[in-house]
Symmetry: C2
Subunit: 199 residues, 2 copies
DNA sequence: ACACTATCTTGACACTGTCAAGATTTTGAC
DNA sequence: GTCAAAATCTTGACAGTGTCAAGATAGTGT
């Protein structure tokens, strides 16, 4: 239950929102508790009423990011409910889109910035839920004969890993120019999925 | 050319080494210029004679990591010079091993900690070289009929991405327990490679 | 009405990256 | 070899950071 109207009125969400904005404008390096507090118009240690420490704020921002990602994934999946192959392709694409449009949020979600994720149940829960969605799509593809019938979870890790890896390497600038000049990221994703697809 | 014998005697490498050690013991959060300087036995701003700023030190540590990774990859490749399939498998495995034994170094190499990698030519060069090695192995596999004959670079991005993605998700704790209980990371890698391999 | 708790402010501390000024040592030109 | 120039290192300072303690303020439940 979020607080109703204290001195500030739902400061917690304001801080998260301020954090997201600073993150997208200045990157992780520019994200500080004091700056977040200032942007929300409160004193430098007001955040401690809502977040145990800096890590807790980052956990909250990451959790928010996962909710957004989950929503995007779910939308793509629902939009192609009758075509598992399209679910896989557009689901993957929405994953890529999210990463590219929320670069720094994506990074804190998946780059070890958060050190003890197990201490944040909301974070664990939403990321578990997200993986569950991937497994569902993979399973639908297997039932439809689009993907081979191996362990759905192993297949999910394999495919999710592939999408995730390509996006990560691209964001990191690790994909050489020779490749990026000739192929778009979408090309790479389609190619990757084709690799796993049946004939 | 590294310096020979000044006040300290090759302080630059000592700082990098100290950085690597602190990184592996305290993680990225514990890595500070001042701590590195102290560990090398010099004053708090001695590092500025060798590194423009904190980012430059991180770049140097990352570069060192890439050299180590490249060496490991190369060893695996040379050891199976007569069997491209084994080159791919053991090369991938050495990649995984490196990541798991040098977790924090791996993270700073691939997790956007380094913000303007283009400003560090040595870093760019060694990572380019590493990708080149991957392409070579993939091409050998294609010539041997182990992998399909698509664009080698696209195939390389796809396979490298897959290995990289699985490792990243595993390190991040994003692979659910239900999966990790039943399969080792090696299982996942082998499965992933089998996906791309021909029949 | 009143104790209680959540929320927020003020002030402090140690630690950080970075810069400027100066001291010291090595190098290179002569 | 001499000596100016450059590289290396120290000392001291500054602003910004996360975090804690003590107190002020405002809603809560009885």
């Amino acid at each position: 239950m979020p607080s109703k109207k204290y001195h500030h009125g739902d400061l917690k969400n304001s801080l998260i929102q301020a954090g997201v904005e600073i993150l997208s404008k200045e990157g992780l390096g520019g994200l500080s508790l004091r700056k977040v507090a200032a942007r929300a118009g409160v004193s430098h240690s007001a955040p401690y009423a809502h977040f145990k420490d800096r890590q807790a704020l980052i956990a909250a921002i990451s959790t928010e990011g996962f909710k957004k990602l989950y929503t995007a994934l779910e939308a793509a999946v629902l939009q192609h409910a009758d075509d598992p192959r399209q679910q896989l392709i557009e689901g993957a694409w929405s994953y890529v889109q999210f990463a590219m449009h929320n670069i720094d949020t994506f990074k804190i979600m998946f780059s070890g910035t958060l050190e003890k994720e197990k201490e944040y149940p909301a974070f664990v829960e939403i990321s578990r839920k997200t993986f569950g969605l991937v497994v569902d799509v993979v399973q639908a593809c297997q039932n439809a004969g689009v993907l081979r019938s191996a362990s759905p979870e192993l297949m999910s890790v394999s495919i999710w890993g592939q999408i995730h890896g390509i996006v990560s390497l691209a964001l990191e600038g690790q994909i050489s120019h020779g490749v990026l000049d000739r192929y778009s990221v979408r090309d790479m994703i389609l190619f990757a999925i084709d690799q796993s697809a049946i004939g």
